[in-house]
Amino acid sequence: MSTENPIHTRIWREEPESDNPFAMRTAYCRGYDVYGEMLGQSRWVEMLTLLFRDAAPTKAEADLLEALAVVLANPGPRDAAIHAAMCGGVGGSTSASCLMAALAVGAGQYGGGREVLLAMEAWNACGTDLDLWRQRLAAAPPEEVSIWPAPEHPPGFDPHGMSTPTPVRQALACFAHLSPGTRLPWLEKHRADLESATSLPLSLSGVAAAALADLGFTPEQGEMLHLLLRLPGAAAHALEQRRHGYKKFPFFAVELEDDPAREGT
């Protein structure tokens, strides 16, 4: 069997069945036998962590990631990513397209994966140094030419918020209690200082970013996990709207400001 053009990985190894080089007999994730030993013994969040790094999570890390997964599972049907998934569901689009819609919209800098990445970069730069945070929050965002639109608010804070919403405070309190790291407890202690520096309340993306940073994930890994962990709600809401049909789904009024018919009259 030629092994030209191999896939290089430190995540996964497979051994074939003796009668078929394309059929897997055993699979090892970071050296652990997935079907022979992990199956039935490991939690989903342990497997999830292991996919991203060599070391299995401690119990405290697994508990925190699981709590984060509960918080992120469903942002609710008002959230733009879930709204997008429902737009797929209501018209009878494929299930994959509903999730692709949720991913595309939930990828952004307003409450999405990109915001989490940028917030995690801020954690990497500022750590638990309040002065560094104040300097960063006061500074204009770096000008960068990119496929992403220019940032319009400090990542991790709600540009339309008035005060810290109850679930954000509840999630932060829970995560800070569970966290084996330093950022979440520090964020709980200094939330008001940061909010005062930005004149904006902390958002759930900001709490998620701190949790993912405390779990040792890189910003890119945090972005991926945020995208992934918000999909369950998108799936469920899309299927629900598919059942309900379009007649029960909002179709908004339009105010056309450049209407040739109006100009002609």
């Binding site: 092994t3 497979e14 080089p21 050296g31 299995a56 697994a62 339309h160 105010e255 450049d258």
Partner: protein, 269 residues
């Protein structure tokens, strides 16, 4: 107005200048009636009008469409096309495969990620030179900041086969001698003289031609969205016509594992 007061203003309605359709009666596209005023536009012209709100000459539109045409390769080995082909092989739908392939085309080393950086660099550099700045200094500054210049060099080959046909067409249409195109070639000379071995590639030349057509970076980025599209459908079709699961077969031995040795699983503590 900010916060919830601002959001309350937005509830329940779409305020737009871009267009709307009125069920059973008409559709408006950027202030024009689609079925009367715009009925003779071809699709590409409408697409460009939708992005820019401006009209372009037949020669300009011909060049713009050729920017898509000349980079439409039905080669399923290419990373973005491979997504469409794998979807066919895995018996997914054509729409899903091709939509994902287009999304993947927003890459950092090719496609949309390069497009927006290439045109922004050329527009910024032209302004710098027009203001009396040194081109060599600007190139050096860019290389220092980015380590490369978008639109120069190529991930898998040094020579770019698309340059000659694009320039031939641009010359035929009288659109090859704009200031951004001249600048793009001048940058190439600076890079070669400096020993950087980064030749102008398709992304750089296409961005220069688009800048000379007056497209902004965002307009160009959106214009280029379907650039690879025509090559993707054939990849899906052929893979879908082959026996299922047979495209780019990979045996277990194709995984070259470089990680932790086998170890016993222990529940975390």
């Amino acid at each position: 107005m900010k916060g919830p007061d601002f959001l309350l203003e937005q509830v329940g309605r779409l305020k737009t200048r871009m267009g709307a359709f009125f069920v059973g009666s008409r559709a408006v596209f950027r202030g024009r009636d689609l079925h009367t005023e715009l009925k003779d536009m071809d699709w590409a012209e409408l697409y460009v009008f939708g992005i820019t709100g401006r009209r372009f000459s037949p020669a300009q539109l011909r060049l713009m469409q050729s920017l898509w045409t000349y980079t439409s390769y039905p080669d399923a080995r290419l990373w973005n096309n491979r997504v469409a082909a794998l979807a066919g092989s895995a018996r997914s739908t054509g729409n899903l495969g091709i939509a994902a392939a287009l999304a993947v085309s927003e890459a950092s080393i090719y496609g949309r990620g390069v497009d927006i950086r290439a045109i922004e660099f050329l527009i910024r550099t032209k302004k710098h030179v027009d203001d009396g700045g040194s081109l060599a200094d600007q190139v050096e500054k860019e290389l220092k900041a980015q380590r490369s210049i978008a639109g120069y060099g190529r991930p898998i080959a040094a020579k770019d086969e698309r340059l000659v046909p694009i320039m031939a067409l641009a010359e035929h249409l009288g659109l090859a001698d704009g200031p951004h195109v001249r600048l793009a070639f001048a940058v190439k000379e600076v890079l070669i003289a400096g020993g950087w071995r980064q030749h102008l590639n398709y992304g750089g030349l296409a961005a220069a031609l688009a800048a000379d057509l007056g497209l902004t970076p965002q307009e160009y980025y959106l214009f280029m969205f379907p650039a690879f599209l025509a090559g993707m459908a054939p990849c899906y079709i052929e893979a879908e016509q082959r026996p299922e699961g047979s495209l780019f077969s990979l045996a277990c031995s194709h995984i070259q594992y470089q990680g932790q040795p086998q170890r016993p699983w222990q529940p975390p503590r």
